[in-house]
């Protein structure tokens, strides 16, 4: 099955909107995707029909709410091919990375140990670990980039050679360069040097766009976020090997994550509940479940195929603009759909504002990747990023806007 973006669009209400008298062209899905009607309906059904708290309620509403919430866990686990006992719901991917940084890394790494990461990480997968390093005294090393914006595995091999690397934190797909990192190669490289090393992957930009099997990736932790995969805001998840979760102390403490509480202390609930303190994101989980259903119906192979085709056309269209340079790989086989670029002599803020005034939504800035910006030698980039509802019709307004920016802001 292939994706028919034009007919899909009718299911995404915001895309029906006009901006400045023009059809809205949304090319900022790497920041947040649009939300389809079925996801909104799933949340609405919860609020309008089963509104109550989950867990341990003995009346029907509470049982329905619990089923919705736990059903979403099962759905997400199936979608990423993981054990539901390893699926911890969080408010976003950032919280998932912090959970790992606090409950695994801070509890286990210290002076003499090394955490390996890369220069292309999103702040969510970077700052929690450098912050932990400052508190715990372990070293952080960064895999640099090759010329074409991929991770330099030769250098990576040198970085792990002394056997001190106990933890790898790496993104699956870069939100700026689009680069798809070779996770199996990276974890093999790290584990060859230290078989006990633990691998944490930021899958935020991968799960919405590629078929992902947590089991096949054979890593320990994997962070995802709902709002970039057709789901609602306010929900994400840490996918983990259940044994890892079992070996960890809790992060957030409170109701629901305990087995028993006395005045002095507490014993913890089973995984994954041990990591879910307080009233969870119930409506959001219901919405995320519906998002997963839609992606399964579309088929992740078809989603990826659509992305490859669109990204190829996008890159070709961008390169028709004078003075435009693309950051990151241009080979669609090794990249996702986020395409960052620069236009000679025009500041990204101006590019973005001009595009916005023509109904084209792209992101400008550092995209929460300041270290990467420094590597690229820029302060900011303009980024276009697509999803299942984008098609070739979106390219003309984009290129037209870029040409307008180039002319308008030329000095």
């Amino acid at each position: 099955m292939t994706i028919d973006a034009a007919s899909l669009r009718s299911r995404f209400p915001t895309l029906g909107r006009e901006l400045e008298g023009r059809r809205l062209v949304y090319l900022d899905s790497a920041a947040s995707s649009q939300t389809p009607d079925t996801v909104l309906d799933a949340m609405d059904r919860y609020y309008r029909f089963s509104r109550s708290n989950v867990h341990r309620g003995v009346y029907p509403l509470a049982e329905e709410a619990t089923d919705l919430y736990e059903g979403a866990r099962t759905a997400l686990a199936r979608f990423v091919d993981a054990d539901p006992r390893g699926v911890v719901f969080t408010k976003n991917a950032t919280e998932a990375c912090n959970l790992v940084a606090y409950s695994w890394v801070r509890a286990r790494l210290g002076p003499g140990d090394t955490l390996l990461t890369t220069v292309m990480e999103h702040h969510a997968n970077h700052v929690p670990f450098t912050y932990a390093a400052q508190a715990c005294g372990f070293e952080v090393r960064h895999i640099p980039l090759t010329e074409d914006g991929r991770l330099d595995l030769d250098v990576a091999r040198e970085l792990v050679a002394d056997g001190t690397v106990r933890f790898l934190a790496v993104g699956h797909v870069s939100n700026v360069l689009g680069t798809i990192n070779d996770i199996p190669a990276l974890s093999a490289l790290v584990r060859d040097a230290n078989p006990e090393a633990v691998v944490h992957v930021d899958g935020t930009q991968a799960v919405p766009h590629l078929p992902v099997s947590f089991r096949d990736l054979d890593v320990d932790f994997y962070a995802v976020t709902g709002h970039k995969m057709l789901g609602p805001t306010g929900i994400g998840a840490l996918i983990a090997r259940p044994e890892r979760l079992e070996a960890m102390e809790p992060f957030l403490a409170g109701g629901d994550m305990i087995r028993d509480v006395t005045l002095e202390g507490a014993t913890w609930n089973d995984v994954p509940h041990k990591f879910e303190a307080g009233t969870p994101m119930i409506a959001e989980a219901a919405g995320l479940g519906a998002a997963v259903t839609m992606l399964e119906e579309l088929g992740m192979d078809a989603v990826r195929e659509h992305e490859v085709a669109f990204t190829g056309a996008l890159i070709d269209a961008l390169l028709t603009v004078d003075g435009l340079t693309i950051h990151g790989p241009t080979d669609t086989a090794v990249r996702g759909g986020a395409v960052s670029f620069a236009i000679d002599g025009v500041h990204p803020h101006d590019v973005g504002a001009m595009l916005g005034s023509k109904g084209v939504c792209v992101r400008v800035g550092h995209h929460c990747t300041k270290p990467l910006m420094r590597c690229l030698g820029v302060a900011a980039t303009t980024r276009a990023s697509a999803y299942v509802y984008n098609d070739l019709d979106d390219l003309e307004p984009l290129v037209e806007g870029l040409e307008a920016a180039r002319t308008f802001f030329a000095r």
Binding site: E20, H347, P348, H349, D350, A353, M354, G356, S357, G365, H366, K370, M373, V378, A379, A380, F408, F409, R411
Partner: protein
């Protein structure tokens, strides 16, 4: 209001042909460096004071059209003014960027053209960058120091 309205000709003129843009300034002066890591703007401002007035003022840096043009218009508007007067004008501009009507229409000169930017909240910081650097340069001078660096969030 459309984008093209925001970028009036006067803004574009200042952006394309900035006034008082230079990497250095003769004589003893105060140098402040302001940067906004969140949008990558960098601004160097150099202020020479004589008789408690703005005797020399140049800016340099990287940034979007709004930040560059606003700095240019700012220098033109305050050169020659007394320090207190310049600070007062800065406050007038700042308020204008937060949606208030400016009190000193004429004195703001071309800077008045940035009034429309107030409707684009993310760009307000850009328009303010040069003015905030000026305010900092004056207070740095008044403290008796000769250089200061400030990093803003956006």
């Amino acid at each position: 209001m459309s984008l093209e309205d925001m970028y009036q000709d006067v803004i574009l003129d200042h952006y394309r042909k900035p006034h008082n843009r230079a990497p250095s300034l003769e004589g003893e002066h105060v140098h402040v460096h302001h940067s906004n890591p969140l949008c990558g703007d960098e601004m160097d401002l150099r202020l020479r004071v004589a008789d408690d007035a703005v005797d020399g003022l140049v800016f340099d840096g990287e940034g979007c059209s709004i930040s560059q043009a606003s700095a240019s218009a700012m220098t033109a508007a305050v050169l020659g003014r007394g320090l207190k007067d310049a600070l007062d004008l800065t406050e007038d501009f700042r308020r204008m960027m937060h949606g208030e009507d400016p009190a000193r229409l004429d004195d703001l000169e071309d800077a008045i053209a940035f009034q429309g930017v107030a409707r684009f909240p993310v760009r307000v910081k850009c328009a303010l960058l040069g003015w905030m650097a000026l305010r900092d340069a004056i207070t740095t001078y008044e403290r008796g120091a000769s250089a200061h660096t400030v990093t803003h969030e956006d």
